[in-house]
Structures are given as C-alpha cells and as structure tokens.
C-alpha cells in the first residue's frame, strides 16, 4: 500500500469512528430497505433475438481501483433490467429484456453498436483493449460511461480513455446537442445522484459537486462517447421502483438513457 492510500484509509477510519457511531440506527434502517428491494426484476422472453441489447462492457479493474470485486458489474443486473423495461415500454426500440455482458476483446463486441460502461473511474484498459474500443467507435459504435465522481476518478478515467483516443478532445456537450432532444427534450443538466443520497442527503459524491455531460465527437461532429461524470444514472435505474429513491431522478435517468440509445441509432 503506498503512502497516499494509507493516509486516505487512516483518515476514513477516524472519520467513521467520530461521525459514524451516531448514524448507526439510520444505517441499519437503510440496510433493511435495501434488503426488501427486489433487485432482479422479471425478464420476459430473456433469450429473444432483438435489434437492441443492453451491452455492458466487462472491463478489468484498474490498478488504482477503490472497489473490491468487478467494478463493471456495479448495479447489474437490476439497473440494466429496470432500464430495459422502460426502453421497451416508452419507445419503439425492439430491445431484449435481459442484459448482455461483453468484454472489450471479444469479437462479438462489434455486434452490439451501443455499450455501457459503469464505474469507469476504476477501469483498467491496456493498449490492445484501447485499440479495440477505438476501432469499435470508429466503425460506428457508441459508448456511454457512467457513475464516476470527483477529481481522482476523472483522472483515472482519462488515463483509460486516452488509450482509446490519445488525441481526441473531451468536450462539454452543449444543451443544444441533438443527444438531449432526439426523443425527450432535456433542457437542464440536473445532477442525478446515486442511492447514497438516501444516506448522505447529498446529490454528489467525493468532490464531484458539479455534474458534467461530456463527450468525444468524431470528425463529422457525431458523438461517439457520452460521459456522465459526477452522476449515477445506473443507480437511478437500479432503484427505479424503490420508494425511497426520488421518482423525478429515475424519470430523468430513463430519459437520458433512452436519448443516448436513440441518438446512437439515428446519428
């Protein structure tokens, strides 16, 4: 463990002792609610052959990953399935009810022109994976990244995305961009918090106070990568039917997600 990590671990332990003890009953109540929540919604006709598959990028954790286990699995499959229910109900897109996992070096990646990567503040892409994703995007694939927060995770994300596009700039997506209007008119950039909001009461995590919709465009001005930074659409989908999670954020997350898919299928 390097010195920086050690200091952070020590700081977190002290904070837990100082501030965590009073909050223990609230923590227990929250855990109880979590347990009662059905995490795996039904998937009718799960093997149906459809036009659209919610393809989740199964990347490897990076060396500086905060999280134990596989970061790419975060919120899955509940988030995927709740979101797919919305896609099937609200649009004409012929979408399968069950999620699809796809590693970056699997050739089948090219059969899924829309992929979703979560917790990309912890991803680890090597050169081959970066090249594969670059080729995928140049052919017309579309990548949505989500659920990473603060300066540290941003730096880690950028380290990975530079393996994909070393030279392409990452820019703020303007509200006038078609991606915010293709199906739903989304005129405000409202931060969509993760489930942690119920505990913390904050819409942001770490130092990611301001939400950012950023993107990488191709040479013809079409988005290839949508970067949901300092927000957590995945949680908003995952807790879609959880009474404690505010409905307006789930609704908004659905709209953003559906717009991303529709944009990818039209541009």
């Amino acid at each position: 463990m390097n010195l920086r990590l050690y200091r952070r671990w020590l700081g977190a332990s002290c904070a837990l002792l100082l501030f965590g003890a009073p909050a223990l009953p609230q923590w227990r109540q929250w855990r109880q609610m979590m347990a009662e929540h059905d995490e795996n919604p039904p998937t009718p006709n799960p093997d149906e052959e459809t036009e659209f598959y919610f393809a989740r990028l199964a990347y490897r954790n990076g060396p500086g990953a905060r999280r134990w286990g596989q970061a790419w699995m975060t919120d899955s499959p509940a988030a995927d399935r709740y979101f797919l229910q919305g896609v099937r109900r609200l649009t004409n897109i012929h979408a399968r009810s069950r999620e699809q996992y796809i590693p970056p070096l699997d050739n089948a990646l090219f059969d899924y022109p829309w992929i979703y990567a979560v917790e990309v503040g912890q991803w680890g892409l090597n050169e081959a994976e970066g090249a594969r994703l670059r080729e995928y995007l140049m052919r017309g694939g579309f990548l949505v990244v989500d659920d990473f927060h603060g300066t540290y995770e941003w730096a880690h994300f950028v380290e990975g995305i530079k393996k994909v596009f070393p030279d392409r700039p990452i820019v703020e997506i303007e509200l006038s961009d078609p991606v915010f209007h293709v199906l739903y008119d989304l005129d405000q950039k409202v931060q969509i918090p993760g489930i942690q909001y119920l505990r913390s009461g904050r819409t942001f995590e770490r130092d990611g106070v301001e939400p950012h919709w950023r993107g990488i465009y191709d040479d013809k001005g079409r988005l290839m990568v949508v970067i949901n930074f300092d927000m957590d659409l995945g949680d908003a989908w995952e807790w879609a039917d959880f009474p404690g999670y505010p409905e307006q954020w789930t609704a908004l997350a659905y709209r953003f997600g559906i717009n991303y898919i529709t944009y990818a299928m039209t541009h």
Partner: protein, 749 residues
C-alpha cells in the same frame, strides 16, 4: 454457261412470264402425257419380259419423260418479258465518293477501280442502249459529266438520300434502272422503308455493284459505346464498349476513357478470337458538375490500316444539385443509422428521414425547415412528388392510409420515382403488406402468413445480374469485386419475401442453411418508376464487422441510393433523338412537361435557349405534339460541329413547371472511319428487294445487256421461244442415250 444452255440470261427467267403459244388447252396436254405414259407402260410390260420389274420401270420412266418433253414442245413454250426500249430510257449511275472509297486495296483505291470499270467500256456500252446520267454521292448527290470528276472526299455515305435524290431529279424522265457503285458503308442505318416501297412501286430495278474487300485484314473497330448521358457528380459510371476485330485475335489492347488529354480510366483487354462482337466494360467517375465530352479509345495496334475507327465520342452531362430521398422508418434500428451515415457522405443526396421513435413520436432529420414533414408522412401529391425516391423501412402497411398507399403507387407509376422496401419485423407479410394496395407494385409475390423475418446471420452472394450491376460494384475489377463480396460478413438478419414476379431481377441472393437461396435485393420497373426490395435490416453488420477504413457498406448504399434517383424524371424531361450527330445537322428535340402532381401539362409554353460552341445563345420555341398530351417538340439545325447545350423552361401562365437541360454533340468526318469493309449484305438486299441484281466489280461488263430487262421506264413486251433452247435438245438426247445405254447394259437391245 447458263445463257449457253438456256439461250437467255437468268434475269429473263426471273422477270419473264412463262406461256404456251399453241393455243391448245393444257388439259389436253396433260391427258396426252398420261395416255402416252400408259401406252408405254403396256408396251414395256408386254415386250420387256427379259428385264426385271424394277428395270422395266426405269425404262418406262425414261421413255415417258421423253414423250412428255416432245408433247410440251408441241404446245410451243415461250417466255414474255418486258425490255427497255433502246435510247428511250435513262439509266442513273451512282458512284459512292465517300472517304471510305479512297481506301487502297492492293495498288488501287476503291474509287480508282470504279473509274477504271466505267471508263473501260461500261459507260460506253450503257450509252449505246440508254441515256446515261452519272452522279456522285456521299452526304449529298451531285451530277457529273465523266468519271474523272469523281473524288473520294465525302464525309458520309447516305445511300438512301442519294436514291431519293435520283428519284426526285428523274421524276419526269423514263428512268429504266439505277446502277450503284458503292462499298455499302452507309452511315444512316440503311434505307428508309417508305423509300424502298416507292422504288418497288415504280418497279425501278437497282443494280448494285459492290466495291472493296468484305473484310479488313487487320483492324479493331469500336462499334458502339453504351453509357448514361446524365449522371450525378462523383458517380461511378459503367460504359459498355462493343469491339469488333479482324486478324487481331488474342492481341492485348488498351481501352481507355478520356476527357481531352486526361485519362479518366484505362484497362488492358484481350481481343477475342472469332468475329463475334466483343463487349467490354470500363468504369470511371463522372467527376464534377458540367458537360463533358468523353472519348472512348482503343490504342492503335501494330499493323492496323484504319485507326480512325478506334475511337468513339459520347457526351455526359453531370448534373449538379441534390436528389431528395424520403426514408420513413417504423422504429429506431441500426440499419437506419448506417444508411443515414452512408448518405451523409454523398454530396448528391439529401436523405430526409422520418423515424417513429415511440408510439406517437416522430423524429425528423435532414429537413429543410421546421414545417417539412411536420404533419408526418405526406398526404398530398405535390409534397410527396417533391422527392425523387422513397425508402420504406420496417413499418406496418396499415400505418399508411389507403389514400397514402395510392399516393405511393402513383409516386412510382406517374411521377417515375423509385421506392425501396426494407426487411424488418413489420415488413412484407409480417407487416400486413401482402393484402395492402401496394402489394401490386412490389417486385415479389409476398408469401402470406407471418414469421418471415429472422434475426439470424446469413451469407449473401451476387447473382449474374448482380455481377453486372453498378449497384453491386465494390471494385472495378469484376474478379476483385466478386472476392470482396465473398468476404463480406453475414447480414444480421433476413426476411423471406416470396417468389419474384415476371420481369423482376434479383441482384443479391442469401444462402440459407441447406443450400436454399432466397432473393435479397430485387428490382423491377413499375410504370415510369422502379420498385426495389432489400429483404434485410441487417446490412449494418458490413459496417461494424469490417475495418473502419473499409468502404464496402458505404459504397453499396451510395450506389443503391444513386441508382434510385439518377434517372428519376423531373417535371420537364428533355430528350434529343441522338446524343452524337455524325455529319448530321438536323436535331429533333422532345420535351415532356408535367404539372406539380405529374399530370401531363397541356397549354404550356416551352422555350429553349440553345448555346453552341461560339457561346451565342439562340431561342427555340417548342410546339405541342399532336399525338401525345404534355409533349412538345422542336427541330433544330446544328450547323457547325461542336457541343450544343439546350436549356428548356416550361411554364403555364405565370407558373413555372420546370427546367431541364441537355447537351449533344455534332461531329463531322468521323462516320466514314467506321464499317469500312464492303457491306455486301446491304447491297444484295437493295438489289433483291427492287428486282435488280448484285454485281461483283469484275463481272460488271455484262450489266448493260441485263439491265435491259426492266419494267420501269418505256418498255416493250417481247415474246421469246423456248423450244429451241439447247438445254431442251440436250435433255431429249440425254433421255434417249440413257435408255439405250441401260438397255444395252441389261442385254435388252
């Protein structure tokens, strides 16, 4: 020999009327022949016991034939024939003086040989019996006094016009016959049918004298080039070049397309063995907007005598502006995205899309303004007919009202647009199209039922028509093209549509498991337009499964989209009877004007501005055609060689119906380089159809005596005996001798 045996020339028997002069009835002749044959039969049977039965039969037949011959002679056979009265008739002698007559064969030119024949006694012999008028003809007709005035410098051979000119000039004279000296290399595709009918009616025999070799020993000739005369900028075009060669079988030649000194495309070809017409394809890019004069050429080969026929010129008009295609799609899908991307890269196409994203929402892309398609799919002809083509994605048939379905039908039939139906889960029978009004226009008979759309990868292959089609050309080289198609990834899905209707062609088939193939890309003309089916929604896999630098998907779709709009007519269509006018100055123009809803536009004013090489514009007014509604015609004299641009505007009162332009080219002195060998077939046909005779130049000395037998001019009817023909005596003698020899051989003498 014929004349020795039969006393008269063959022409007498061909033109004469056979008759018996005795005046006795013919039934009596037949009865006597029968009686004689019967008597001889009795005689042979009674006195020929020593001979076998078959031999008796032979003897009887010979004796009977001799008896019949003698009886026929008793009836006094004769022939009645019309002959020209000496010195009272005119014979027109026409000599071809086009440049092909200057071709040297051995030491003399073709014209030299004609002059030698005329001066060597032919004119004198003809002059002894008739009044002779000598003419030279090429692109015109001119009378000359003697053969020394003839010079082979004409730019074209217009045999028909020359004959018509002679008829006109001698209309008040007793024309007994026409003699034509020519190589038959006519540049006007033969002789007008009406002229031939007139000549036959006047019973004027045309004697043709063929000059020149029927084959040029070493020659490659470009006989034709078929290429579109209009194209969109940057289009890949295919030209089909027809080549004929003599004596150059197996040789390599360089085929090229040039614009001025720029070579647009070139490839090596091998000249076929045999004399069949060889067709080669060459692909090139149409380039920037504007009118282009293209030269298709075969580089001269070693030993070629004539190289002027290695080139052909064509005019290509590259039309600027975008062609508008409306694409309606029932659900977001990958095919939609990637078709849009392919079209985005094409500057000639505006792909306007209307996508049903959810049950009641539509997303419009590439529209001109907020109003465009704001109310959904067009319901008025004027709006829909503003597009050149229509793509219908996966959407139920009943999405369209019956009126809209009828409109789509008229879009193809009347407006001349193209419609492409794509496969998908709501397409064809799965979308209820089998029972729709539009089932009639589809190029396939839709299989009734459902579950015809399958999301399973499928391999495609080109059909023969697909290999030849420009839509499926991913590479200019046919073999490389085939290889690229073989390497294409599977389609993501396919749909079984049904069998092809008569006249429909499939360019691409899909191979299903178990060696079964089904049509994937089908097309058929319907009315003035065309309907296509691409029975898949999964060609996007060609984009995602190939390197991002691979252009197969983009090229295929751009070529498919361009094929749908490149020939779609506008409200005004302007055509000329030709694109290249070789030594011709009469240009016939035809404009078809239609209203906004593409109904024929009557009472329109159609005016053109014609600009020649000198850049000076002139105005040309069109007149309504008496035969067809909305059609206007005009004739134009292109007096000088060069390219001409015609820009036509049609308007009705203050409403402008439309504008259109075309380019044609006039060239002089080129036609004579083509078909330089003697066209014996044409000359024989003219002689045969008019009661004349085809002559070799070497035999022409007999012509003055045979030309006498004519029914034109001032004639007299002569009756000539046939009984004293040497052939009759030889026949009688032969019969007698044969009988005697056989009897002697069989021991019956």
């Amino acid at each position: 020999m014929f004349e020795f045996l039969f006393k008269y020339p063959r022409t007498v028997f061909q033109k004469g009327e056979f008759l018996f002069l005795s005046g006795w009835p013919l039934w009596l002749l037949a009865a006597l022949i029968a009686a004689a044959a019967a008597a001889l039969a009795w005689h042979v049977r009674a006195h020929g016991q020593r001979l076998a039965r078959a031999r008796r039969g032979v003897i009887w037949a010979l004796e009977s034939a001799l008896m019949a011959l003698l009886l026929v002679l008793l009836w006094h056979p004769a022939i009645r024939v019309a002959t020209l009265r000496p010195q009272q008739n005119v014979i027109a002698v026409l000599v071809d003086t086009s440049r092909s007559m200057a071709l040297k064969e051995s030491t003399q030119s073709r014209l030299d040989k004609v002059q030698a024949a005329l001066s060597g006694g032919l004119l004198r012999d003809l002059g002894g019996r008739f009044q002779v008028r000598l003419y030279d003809f090429s692109s015109g007709l001119e009378r000359v006094e003697n053969p020394t005035q003839l010079a082979a410098n004409g730019n074209a051979t217009r045999l028909g016009e020359a004959l018509a000119g002679v008829l006109r000039e001698t209309s008040s004279l007793p024309l007994g016959g026409v003699v034509v000296f020519s190589d038959g290399a006519d540049n006007t595709n033969g002789i007008d049918r009406n002229l031939m009918a007139e000549i036959r009616q006047k019973r004027i025999p045309i004697h043709t004298v063929g000059v020149g070799r029927t084959e040029i020993p070493y020659d490659a000739e470009m006989t034709d080039v078929t290429v579109s005369s209009r194209a969109l900028p940057g289009s890949r075009l295919i030209a089909r070049v027809s080549i004929r060669q003599h004596g150059l079988s197996g040789q390599k030649a360089r085929l090229s397309v040039r614009e001025g000194s720029n070579i647009l495309a070139a490839r090596d070809i091998t000249l076929n063995s045999g004399q069949t017409l060889q067709t080669e394809e060459i692909l090139f890019n149409s380039g920037e907007p504007g009118a282009r004069k293209l030269t298709f050429a075969i580089d001269p080969l070693p030993g070629e005598e004539i190289t002027g026929n290695n080139y052909l010129t064509r005019v290509l008009q590259v039309v600027p502006g975008k062609r508008r295609i409306l694409y309606i799609e029932g659900e977001p899908r990958w095919e939609f995205k990637f078709i849009r991307r392919a079209a985005e890269d094409d500057q000639s196409i505006q792909l306007v899309t209307l996508l049903r994203t959810s049950a009641n929402r539509f997303y419009r892309q590439n529209v001109d303004d907020d109003k465009m398609l704001a109310d959904g799919f067009p319901t008025a002809a004027a709006e829909l007919f503003g597009y050149q083509a229509l793509i219908i994605g996966t959407i139920e048939a009943n999405f369209f009202t019956p009126a809209q379905q009828d409109l789509i039908k008229e879009f193809v039939n009347r407006r001349g647009g193209s419609v492409l139906f794509l496969g998908g889960r709501h397409s064809f029978s799965d979308g209820g199209w089998a029972t729709s009004l539009l089932a009639e226009i589809l190029p396939v008979r839709i299989t009734p039922g459902g579950n015809t759309f399958h999301r399973r990868p499928v391999k495609v292959e080109l059909t023969q028509q697909g290999r030849e089609s420009l839509i499926c050309r991913l590479d200019e080289d046919p073999e490389k093209n085939e290889a690229r198609w073989n390497k294409l990834p599977d389609l993501a899905d396919y749909q079984t549509t049904g069998e092809l209707k008569p006249g429909a062609v499939s360019l691409i088939d899909a191979q299903l498991p178990g060696s079964k193939t089904i049509p994937m890309l089908v097309m058929q003309n319907y009315g003035r337009g065309r309907v296509l089916v691409f029975a898949t929604g999964g060609s996007w896999r060609w984009r995602m499964r190939l390197e991002h630098t691979d252009t197969s998907h983009v090229t295929f779709w751009q070529q498919l989209l361009r094929s749908m709009v490149s020939n779609t007519p506008g409200p005004v269509m302007l055509t000329s009877d030709r694109v290249i006018y070789s030594d011709e100055d009469r240009v016939h123009l035809r404009a078809e004007a239609r209203t906004q809803t593409y109904e024929p536009a009557d009472n329109a004013t159609v005016v053109a501005t014609v600009t020649g090489e000198d850049g000076k514009p002139s105005t040309l007014e069109f007149h309504p055609s008496p035969d067809q509604e909305g059609v206007y015609e005009a004739d134009l004299a292109a007096e000088k060689p060069g390219s001409y641009r015609v820009e036509v505007t049609a308007h009705r009162e203050s409403e402008i119906l439309g504008r259109e332009s075309l380019v044609f080219h006039r060239e002089d002195g080129v036609a004579e380089n083509f078909h330089p060998e003697q066209n014996r077939e044409l000359l024989q046909k003219i002689a045969q159809q008019t009661g004349g005779k085809y002559w070799d130049l070497n035999e022409v000395g007999k012509l003055p005596s045979e030309i006498t037998y004519s029914e034109a001019g001032i004639t007299t009817r002569e009756t000539r005996d046939l009984w004293d023909m040497p052939a009759v005596f030889f026949l009688a003698l032969g019969l007698l001798a044969a009988e005697w020899l056989l009897r002697r051989k069989w021991g019956a003498v």
